[in-house]
Symmetry: D4
């Protein structure tokens, strides 16, 4: 696929969905319970997760989506009661691979809850957007991809039954779409962080993010934030 | 002074005010605009600040209190319009000196706002209390000192005119009392953090605290927390 | 009618309105004040009610709709001041007939208020949806029927004058539509409850539902819930 | 000890603390990790628990207090990380022993979380008070014991460090006081439930209480109550 | 005009706007400062008002609209600073003429504030709707006219500049539409009040309405209601 | 007894409790289920009620207290399930006897709920206080009696068990104290209503009060007030 | 009287009530409807008002208190229905006399409402306190007098019946105490305003205060502030 | 350009966008860092600003738009870190030039924050609208221009990246549109202010506006308004 974020990160209206399909055939790989052995997704891996809901005490992890930023997506279906996924865990804890999320706070907690591992190092497009797009409250992925990458993604399957044994095509497409464009989005956000001199501040926030997720799991989320007065 | 937190950290009712005065004469040193040259306060320095109010845009830093944990206190009065305090700044940024606060989030921001320096490394008794005293909402310094160190301190001067040219005796006593017992409190809290296995989690929170204070100064405090969904 | 929930409970887009009309002629039977003698609606009866409003002290019960799950509906119009309906009461209290509701909490209370009888045993599609569709807040009947049974029902007549002496055709259609598909919805929800191992928990909630409705009538609803701290 | 709740359940000002001490020497038995083998606490056992806080995900169970209603108390200290207590579990699940709580919703959940067992059958003095003392919002144990049993108990140790290896005498006294008078309170409340004809309604609420606690643990507490509209 | 509310008060879809225009030419009479001498509007006069806003201390009365229920409307423009309107005042206080409003609480207060007179006797279609349409929260005039009289009226001019020296045609049409159909609406509401036995209760509410408006003017509106606990 | 409200209604500090006891021996008459035949309480009767709580659907009427303003009190105990009290009902509906309450809204509704009768005519010291003591939010009976009549009454038994078969002496004293001084309070309030010209407005509010209570019983209390916009 | 605010504005504990009485006999002059002709209260007049309540539409102005700062007070009783007070109005509008208030926003509005005049120029000790005592939320007069002037004043008569024909001695004392110390308070606040460089900002706020009060009267108070976004 | 506000200030539907383009070619002049030397924008200059967000501590001023009311617009791009703009500052502080804003409170504060200068004298169309359009809550510029000037302006670019080095054409058009029609809007609002006699009140609000903005910058905005009780 011809997509090269390092060369031309933000040419507006360059990666519309149909264009991507035309240039390179997007493949969605579906894996049961873990990533296959030996799969190398490169130094920066975009990750998203789908769960049965927002309460980690009750709502199990169902799907982990990953992309190397090459236009393809890997979906790992997690089984009910599953507590280990060695290849995935190795990736999450690999200090040489940057894990790239949008609102990673939730995904990192969900995977910590499922497998017990702490994901690091990480980069989060939502935090970056909050740090640099100070003129707006809209930091949703759909909105960011529209404005900064020129891609429209659907959110219709967001609250579907991710615990089903067989995912529908619509679910697979939706799951993949959440990781396919994160590399391009990161590139666009970095330009602005650098322009306004907030790259180093962003990095310190990313460094704390796994701890923030762990505190959430332990009940120190709002309004019981550990830093509160 | 005979006070040895390492030996006997939590004998209730052991350090009442009068006892301290009897054993060792508490001295409050008053300095104008900066710490004196050559003052060595040891590897762990308890610090507190007094300001004209809670809005750093408007309310100037008035007093910085420090203690080596030896029962004595140093008060530095900051002048109106003052933007530098070289000796104090050197201490705040010295990587070999741990700065010990109660709710350091505010003090670190106030000194960053006044002098532009980032205080590090730090330890915060309020965060430690939140992490280990999960059975209560009461994490105020007065309450903690009563329960864990057996000392009663007054809070009557808390909202007095700290911008006055001459501090009253009551103000000096109050200012000193906020740093005199922090070393003992830290020792008591560490015992419990270790018992419940939360020492490492606490450390990661302390590491983030200077960034948390910097985000506050930039407007990313509640309800605009940078980590919000 | 060819509809067999046991055989094929969730083929999406199989039971659209027009299809039902084509396959089997839906009949809406209208009864005054009580069910006719000798009517057997089988072991599982879907029930819904219409009232003059939400305050049982003031707003009388107007219509009780029932269906055996065979595509037909029976509407019983309750007269102003009526306090008994022997055939209906016998059905509600029959321990061998499962009464199937969507948000039965309200209907059970309305009929307890009108006739003094406690409906049991019961099954509630709203509770089942809350227990299994943890990824969403949308548990309305219209939404559930769309997603899980593939049927669109109108809600336009929901707040019409159910106390009128003569119901309009639109009112009758609406009233019937609330009970016609509950058997199919129950079947679809049971599959998921079983998959996630929450069938037994659901049963315990259903067992308590008549008591929950009775507590409501006595004023122990939110925020005065009898179980509150 | 001469205390016979069956004979004289509510003679106001009959069981003041000192009187109890005079009549019969109250003994507090302290057990580590489990009840001793062979201890028979009779057909109705009053139970209370102390934890590290209110969040079962994070705050471990520390102490379980029990009393046969004979004026003595048994305290079981639960160790950090402990997940089984066979004798205690046997008691909690014994269908022939009624477990008597004040606000059992919390205690049942805490023990379910610690040991995985469902406590049943149960009786709760808080629910009984809500059902019969409709003229007030005050249903706290301290208040109920004052008004209905004539006993004053202190609540000062309520938020103390129950996770300590050695409990203080004050903690032991406080822990015991929460179970010593529950039999007498139950007797007084039953008289009023019978007078107002609400005994059977109370029983249905008690039957649901273990399920209510289990729903809490799974996240269906307010404002996500499973019965909500 | 063929419109006879006494004969056939609620034939649904009988009075659409165009039908009215076709059958009888609606005339809007515009009067400056007062009704003309000698105008007889019959025993029941529909009245509505337009003001500069909702604060009677500040926002002056601009227009009073009246209709005899014969399909015509009279608009009285009130001048800035005007404090008397003898003919209008005579009508408002005439004990033999029923003044018919929709949410008369506001209009009665506005005219009391402008002229000092208490309007009586009165009838209010909003109160009647609240008393009988207990199944809904929608008691706006537009909604009531649609559902019960079969007429669609526009609300676009509701917040226009009623203090202008010359009203636009759109303003006149809007102002007239608020009084033209109140007689028909009253007839429809009365049928239901009678059916549910609430006519006498409604009458007692209407009797109090002028006092309710006077209390509002004096500051005893919510949340300072004179009847509050 | 020498107490003559018509002669000297507001001599501050004239009717302290002990003075009353000295002058005239206060008698509390206790009646079961109804007033005795032939008892004449004069043209103005002070009335208060005690119930099992604030929800008329659930909480039965227990006691009705009455006083002729002569320093004596009559207590009528209402039995569980009782629905008639002919002598009391005759008094409540007697158009020639003014019923005097403090916050009559509740008492009138409680007696309407118990016996089905509408109390009229009425006078309410709480409404009078709201109309004339505009400088304060404190309109409780205890406060009014202190400030305007110079009498201290206890409120300790307010939330006691009024459904008990035998009332305690403390309960009887408390119940009586709520009606003994209402005549004197009315006299004091009338002076001020007259001074500020609000007597006629007060009368119109009193006239509506029975309807206000009836609307409450039917569910049109706040926030569903029948007069709301 | 020896009180000279210019000479010694803030000697703590210098003007206690008893001291004032000793040094100079405080005289309270009571005037009916207006100030006497020819009374000269000097260039700075402290003013406070008492009303029937907080709603100017309803609650009339009862008393205006004034003091020249010489330890004496003048009380002007305003009659019901009174709309003019020429001498007082002349003082309020005299451009050469500074009117000194504590929370003048209310008093200026009350007098504008009563007499139609705009008070100017003005000085307000509450605004000054907000501008300079940024470390606290406590800006009440009682608190300010305690902290900055060393005087304790009672607030017990604050909500008494100021519309009475004859004021009690307690009312007169209270009314006087609100104006006696405002000159001293102003002097103390001015020192701090000057120290922090906010004198000119305070002046601009004082200049706007009469308009702020006029906007309040017209309904543009919170939450409808004219400056809102 | 033929646009002459003095001659014909409010001919509805006279200045539609296309008409303006047809009559006179709108020119948008782009200036870097300051206005050019010698540019005379006349006695009344419409001004608007664009920033990186709403928090002046963090979000820098990006663009200042100005118009003489002649149909042309001048855009001044402010560089990151820029603290002076001499020509612009001279205009802002020129006592002979009226600065015309819509919600000037924000713009005046943003420019005070950037350059340290206080803008005066000023006129604000939002305040004028609040003072005269009392019948509505809608005071947004888009709405006002539609209703009172007959112009539709787009708000799509409102939250775009105004800190970009190169503004897009859409950004320039949007920025210009906010100042092009303010002269016409002012003329229309003045007519109504005069009609209702509120011109002088408006002027006093405008006079205070620069101080209101300065108080905002210092933290005395809602809910800490300096005028609060």
């Amino acid at each position: 696929m011809a997509f090269k974020p390092g060369v031309d990160p933000l040419p507006r209206r360059v990666y519309p969905r149909q264009a991507l399909s035309a240039e390179a055939s997007l493949t969605i790989y579906l894996h049961k319970t873990d990533l296959p052995d030996g799969l190398d997704l490169g130094p920066i891996v975009a990750i998203d997760t789908e769960t049965m809901g927002l309460d980690p005490r009750r709502d199990r992890l169902c799907v982990v989506q990953l992309s190397a930023g090459d236009g393809h997506a890997h979906l790992v279906q997690i089984a009910r009661g599953q507590t280990r996924a060695p290849n995935l865990e190795r990736l999450l804890t690999n200090p040489d691979v940057l894990k790239l999320f949008h609102f990673g706070r939730f995904d990192i907690a969900a995977m910590k809850n499922a497998f017990g591992v702490t994901t690091a190092p990480v980069w989060c497009t939502k935090i970056a957007s909050r740090l640099i797009r100070t003129f707006t409250d809209r930091h949703g992925l759909k909105y960011l991809l529209q404005e900064m990458v020129g891609v429209d993604v659907s959110k219709q399957q967001q609250t579907s039954d991710w615990g089903a044994a067989e995912l529908t095509e619509a679910q697979k497409d939706y799951a993949a779409s959440d990781v396919l464009y994160l590399h391009a989005l990161k590139a666009a956000l970095e330009l602005r962080l650098q322009r306004e001199g907030r790259m180093e501040l962003a990095q310190r926030c990313f460094d704390f993010l796994p701890t923030r997720a762990e505190l959430d799991l332990m009940g120190w989320d709002e309004p019981n934030d550990i830093f509160h007065h």
